[in-house]
Assembly symmetry: C2
Homo-oligomer: 382 residues x 2
C-alpha cells in the first residue's frame, strides 16, 4: 500500500497528520460528522460529503481521489489517526437519494462535455495526442475492424446510446443494423440523425429491451451495457446471445471490469449507477460466453485509454460546470465532478479495467487469421 500523499485539514485548520512526502493536495473536512463518516465508510462517505460541500479538495481533484483510492480497504494508519478523536456510532444514517440518475438527464447535459457524437464509453487514442472527437471515431472504427464487418452483414446492437456506433457501421461498412435501447430521448436523437444522414433504411433503432431481440444476426455487439445487466441477470444476456447470433457469426463485448469480484463503490452505486455491477473477465466467460456456446478470440484491456477519455470529459465538464450548476444545482454538479475524477483515478491505477472481448460460436473460425487484419482498413463502401 503506497503512503497517502494527501494532507488532511480539519474545520479548525488543524491537521491531524501530515502527508508522507509532498502532498498531491489537501483534503479539507468542514465538520466532525463528515470526518466520522470518512472513518467508518470512506467509499460511500467521501462522495456524499463532497457532493454536499462538507469536504473540499484544495488542488486538482483527480490526484487526490487517486491517492485516497489506495486507502480502500481503509489503511490501519488512516483509520487509527482519525479514530483517535472520534466516537464511532453503531449506525451510519445515510443521506437520502436526491440527485437525478444517469439516464433522466437529457441530451443537453451530455452534449456539454461528451464528444460531438455523444459516445459515452471509453475512446481509443490510436495516437496519444488525438482529440476526444478523433479518439471516439477511432474507437468506432476499431470495433468494426475487430468484427471484420463486411457489406451486407446483419448486426444487432444491445444498448446503442445515441446511436453513434450503429450509424458508423452502416455508413462506413455497409452493414444493416438493428439497435436496441430503452431510453426514448437517446432514441429520438439517434433516429433524427439516421434520417438526416440518409441511413434510416439501413439502421433500425428499436425502442425495446435487449432481452426482446428476435431473429438471428451475423454480428452481435454491445458497448458499455453489460455493466448495467447485473450479476444475477448475466445468464439472461447469455440466452439472448445464444439465440440471436448465427453459428458462423462473431461478436464483441466492451465493458468495465475488475480483477476480482467486488461490488461497485457504494457511492457510485447510490448516486450514479443504481443496479450496476462491473463483472470480472472470468465472470463474463463463465456466465455469459461459455453458457452461450461462445469461444474467446481476443481480449484487449484499454484501461489507460479510459483514464485519458475521462480526463478529457472532466476538463470539458469543468468548463461547463457553471451551466450545470445553474440547471441542476450545486450538489448535482459536485457529484458529477467527483464521479468523473474518481473514475479517471480508478482506471489510471488499475482499480478498474476496460475490456473489449471478441468471440465466436464454439466451432466457428475466428474472424481473422492474425491481428494484422485488424490494423489494415478495408476499402470504404461509402
Amino acid at each position: 500500500m503506497a503512503p497517502v500523499a494527501v494532507r488532511l485539514e480539519l474545520w479548525d485548520r488543524s491537521s491531524p497528520y501530515d502527508a508522507s512526502g509532498p502532498p498531491v493536495g489537501d483534503l479539507v473536512v468542514h465538520d466532525r460528522r463528515t470526518l466520522l463518516g470518512l472513518a467508518v465508510n470512506p467509499d460511500l462517505w467521501f462522495g456524499e460529503s463532497y457532493m454536499a460541500g462538507r469536504l473540499d479538495v484544495r488542488g486538482a481533484l483527480e490526484p487526490v481521489v487517486e491517492a485516497l483510492s489506495r486507502l480502500s480497504p481503509l489503511s490501519p494508519s488512516w483509520r487509527a489517526r482519525i479514530g483517535r478523536a472520534l466516537v464511532i456510532p453503531n449506525t451510519l444514517r445515510a443521506a437520502r437519494d436526491n440527485v437525478h440518475h444517469h439516464y433522466d438527464l437529457g441530451n443537453h447535459f451530455y452534449q456539454q462535455w461528451l464528444d460531438r457524437e455523444l459516445v459515452y464509453t471509453c475512446a481509443y487514442f490510436e495516437r496519444p495526442e488525438m482529440s476526444l472527437d478523433e479518439a471516439q471515431q477511432a474507437k468506432l472504427d476499431l470495433i468494426c475492424r475487430k468484427l471484420q464487418l463486411r457489406p451486407g452483414d446483419t448486426v444487432v446492437e444491445a444498448g446503442c446510446g445515441w446511436g453513434a456506433l450503429a450509424l458508423f457501421m452502416a455508413q462506413h461498412y455497409g452493414v444493416r443494423v438493428k439497435a436496441f435501447n430503452v431510453s426514448r430521448e437517446q432514441l429520438a436523437f439517434a433516429r433524427e440523425r439516421a434520417a438526416r444522414e440518409g441511413l434510416a433504411g439501413r439502421v433500425e433503432f428499436v425502442d425495446d429491451d435487449y432481452r426482446n431481440v428476435r431473429g438471428t444476426f451475423d454480428v452481435f455487439v454491445s458497448i458499455g451495457m453489460l455493466e448495467h445487466v447485473g450479476l444475477p441477470h448475466l445468464h439472461t444476456f447469455a440466452d439472448v446471445l445464444r439465440r440471436c447470433l448465427r453459428r458462423d457469426g462473431r461478436g464483441l463485448l466492451h465493458f468495465i471490469s475488475r480483477d476480482a469480484p467486488c461490488p461497485l463503490n457504494p457511492w457510485i452505486r447510490r448516486r450514479i449507477f443504481p443496479g450496476a455491477y462491473t463483472p470480472t473477465l472470468a465472470e463474463v466467460t463463465t456466465r455469459v460466453l461459455t453458457p452461450a456456446g461462445m469461444s474467446v478470440v481476443d481480449v484487449e484491456n484499454l484501461r489507460l485509454h479510459y483514464a485519458r477519455t475521462l480526463e478529457l470529459w472532466a476538463a470539458r465538464y469543468e468548463a461547463a460546470k457553471d451551466s450545470v450548476r445553474s440547471t441542476y444545482g450545486d450538489q448535482f454538479a459536485r457529484a458529477w465532478e467527483l464521479y468523473l475524477a474518481g473514475s479517471q483515478a480508478a482506471f489510471a491505477t488499475g482499480w478498474m479495467q476496460l475490456f473489449q472481448v471478441i468471440f465466436t460460436p464454439r466451432e466457428s473460425a475466428p474472424p481473422f487469421w492474425t491481428r494484422a487484419e485488424i490494423f489494415s482498413r478495408p476499402e470504404s463502401t461509402e
Copy 2:
C-alpha cells in the same frame, strides 16, 4: 451435433450403418471387443485400439478423428446402432501402460518432426504460407514484442524446453534470461547451443523446478508449461509469479485451454500427458493471475495456428514413421500418429483453444499504449 461422415466397417466386412453423406473416411474395426470398447468409452478406447492396431482408418487420419470428435459425448444414434449387436459388460479392463511417456524419449525422436530449434509449442504463421521453421521464429519474436523486451531486462522462464525462446530473447533483444527446466536431456541440448552461440553469459539454464525460482525479474514468461501444472497446483504457480515478478514488470503465459472445465481426453492423459490439465481462461485468471495480483492486459487465441502447426508436425512425423517404428515399435508409432491427428482435430474444431495472455502487476501500466507497438519491431541489438 453434425452428422457423422465416417463409414464404419466391421471384421466381417459388414457395415452396421452408412455415413450420412459422403464419408470422409472408413473406420475399420477388427474385432468385437474393440467395437465394445468404442461403445462404452470411445474417448479412451479409440486411442487404445488404434495404437494396438485393432482398428484402422482408411483415408486420412485427421478428418476421421475430427468427425469422430464430434461424437463426444457419444451420440445416441451411434451408441444405439453399435449397441444392437453387443452385450455391455460392467467393467472395462484397461490395457496396461506400455509406451514411453513424453519426456523420456530423447532429443532424436523430436528432431525428426519438430522445427530445427525444437520448439514444441504452437507456432505463429504471420503469413499463412510460412514454413514451420519460419513460423516458430515468428512466434518467438511475437512473444518478445508482446513483452516489449528492452536491453538489460531480466527474464525468468518457467519451463524452457530445448531453450529456443531463452536464446532468441538474449540474442535479438539483449536481455538476461534465467530458464528453468527439469529435463536433463533438454538442458544439455540448450546449454550446448548457448555455448556454441556465445550466449552462455546471458542465458543461464537452471536444472530445477520452477517452484524453486529465487530473486525478482522484470519479465516472467512460461510457454506450454501451465498445462502440466495441474488444477490443484495452480495456486503454487500463482505464488511463484507473485514472488518473482517486479511490481513494474510484465509477463506472458501461453497455454492450451478449454471453453469449459473438462478433464483431458482419458487416452491422451494415459498415454501422452500423464497429470496434465488444460485450464479454462477463467481458471487461469481466478486461480493464477488474480491471486498473484496481476491484471490481464491482452489475450490472443491462436487455436487455428496450432491446428496448422500440428498439421505440419504430423506430415513430418508421417515421413519419419518407419524410423520411429523401428526404434520404438508399432504401438508407440501409432499412438503418436493418433495424438498428433487428434490434437490437430481438437484445435481445428474449437474443442481446444490456445491462449497467449499478457499481464502486469495490478498497478503497473500495460507494456504498450496500443497494439501497434507489438507490430513494429524495435531495432535489433545484435
